[in-house]
Amino acid sequence: MSYSFVRNSLERMVPSEIPGMGRFHPYAGAYARLDGSFVWTPKALPKKVPAPSANKIANNLREAIERSGLQNGQTISFHHHLRNGDAVVGLVLAELEKMGFRDLTLAPSSLGDAHDCVADAIRKGVVTKLNTSGVRGEVGKVISSGLLDTPVIIRSHGGRARAIEEGSLKIDVAFIAAPACDRLGNMTGSMGKAACGSMGYAMIDARYASHVIVVTDNLVEYPLSPRISIPQYLVDQIVVVDSIGDPAKIATGATRITRDPVQLRIAELAFNLIQSAGYIKDNCSFQTGGGGPSLAVARYVREYMKEHSIRGSYCIGGITGYMADMLKEGLFRVLFDVQSFDAAVTSSLAQNPHHIETDASWYANPFNKGCLVNDLDVVILAALDVDIDFNVDVLTGHDGVLRGASGGHCDTAAGAKLTVVTIPSMRNGVPSIRSRVQTVVTPGETVDVIVTERGIAINPRRQDLLESARNARLPVKDIAQLKTEIEKITGVPEEIHFADELVGVVEYRDGTLIDSIWKIR
């Protein structure tokens, strides 16, 4: 297929139109649509008024799909709160295949290691279009090798909420895995053997999809209490299955602090930078993830706050048990939880009224009237690669194959007052600072600092940080100098060759295209 391309403000070539998906505007700056003048007109989907029912339970998945009226060529969605333990995507795709469905658009909030089944569904033509935040394993290989005729759309979590609300991502049938659900569809993620914590991403699907099917392995007595994540009035049908997922793999957000000395060194430097810049103070707000050095940074922050009797305001994002402990200790007043990284938080979410379940729009949609990330003080993010313009790639592996997730990366970076990207200077001997990242997910203008174990690079836009870090005698280096130092050890890797064939686009949170993804040669 041929596309007409335009150059966006980061000098990246992006298509101006994708047949079947409509026109796209090129990225024009992180805040180009946020000056208060941009107008969006949501397009609502038709919804059928169901006859009142005292029991929404379908006999089986097949019956529920038949009753939903799903047609070939329509769009189905899933959430990824069950992480690598999810069994529902595979269950539903297998049933759809058996029923002879073709040409579906799959629009999950993200895909992970449990979803090689999606690659099968693509090969068999059950799924022919894909919208997601992330991909791993086989799915990444399938996309990068050009098996999909229509380019995949990668969206951030905030961007997906925006796209659903504005109607550019129309969900015909949402399949929502629920760790606990009653007969009329009240559900929660904080109870049950497959408890996953927050259902923040699924909330948006439930609200906007034409038809909502809940898939649960834990039908509880009506009414579900004490917590309801998604209420019954959004639910059409319920299907009870043996298992929605493997609890052991749902709790995969590393709850143990890394022992890897490189990660610890990065964490120490990141903490020192944040502290020296004066961000750890009363009423501060933080976001940090579960993997890599993130928890180790949280540990430094925790110790520092305790030592200096500092009481923060709130933490947001992917919430870990570690942060639930900080809430319990009174170091923060509130946790806003859009996605829980480990099962340790389910009791906190269920029992602590200050641990607040938050939907994806509230979390990060740039077009609503004030998402959480807009007020965030500090976010600590990971990356696969960065470049000397501070652009960040969280999608492309060193072999050029898609293997990451956009997540809330660009959303939080755009919102936070201080955006810190932590990254080991090299992985398996390949340097992490490039002249130009393969795929821009988060633009450099929203990234303030890159911390490696070999030094800290500060965006020249932030002279204030440069000064505070130098005063604290932190190892600040010009990013190009840091790159050269690393390459002295690793050498300069050979460029990956891509074919001239578009296999995906990366949509920035505001709906513009920030980069293109190319077929691997």
Binding site: P261, L264, R265, E268, E453, R473, E485, K488
Partner: protein
Amino acid sequence: MLQNCAIYGSDGVLLDLEDSISMAEKDAARKLVRHALLSLDFGNVERIVRINGRGTPYFEADLAEIVPARPDAIRLPKVDSADDIIVLDRLISQLEVEYKIEPGSIGIQAMLETARSIINVNDIAAASPRLVGLTLGGQDLAADLGIKATKSGLELMYAKSAVIIAAKAFGLHAFDTVYTDIDDLEGLKEQAEMSVALGFSGKAAIHPSQIHVINAAFTPTEKEIAKAVRIAKAAREAAKEGLGVIALDGKMIDTPVVAQAERIIELAALAGVEVSDL
């Protein structure tokens, strides 16, 4: 791992050819360490290589390969007597001449880990002008004594003190042995504080996560630094004015107190603490 060893905030790195390397890997390790010394940038971090003991078949081969790569110092384990150091000094000197390395530029750290070494410690400390430091091998010494090394290290107190006193008497550093439980940072902190109290100049870490705990223990507190700065200033002013007696806040200050204050300022500077208004 090697390319990262200099980034964690230690003052020196010890590249080991001895106990952590199995017999089958000795040759490969020696080549790897030599290559690291020649090619990696260690910045300000001192590079020390622990070679195999004089009684092993690797001793001379280690030196022949490592000395030309110009480490800052050679650490000799299982030192029993002054003779071990004298032999090592002679071999290093020969290699320095052969490879046109500035004579005497490569230091020696002596590792004492037998009962005999403790009774010979004073002779060992005086054995060579190359000596820069003495260190205790806690595990081996305990084994030699037929005792069990404990976390508190009380059983090695005499040996530690003997090493420290000999080191101070001959102007050498005294380095404390490692704390082997890498999960117990609290225990490490206690032991490191004891090291400072006893007079060690430093302590070895066996894992990078231990470094900041040790550094913290060896860094004087702000209060100590402030007091030391006031004493040092008073001493300097007294010297400038040619006064024999130093006074601060109406009290006389003895020379040893001034020396201690200077030591605290030196430790603070070593730890990277900014000591201003001096």
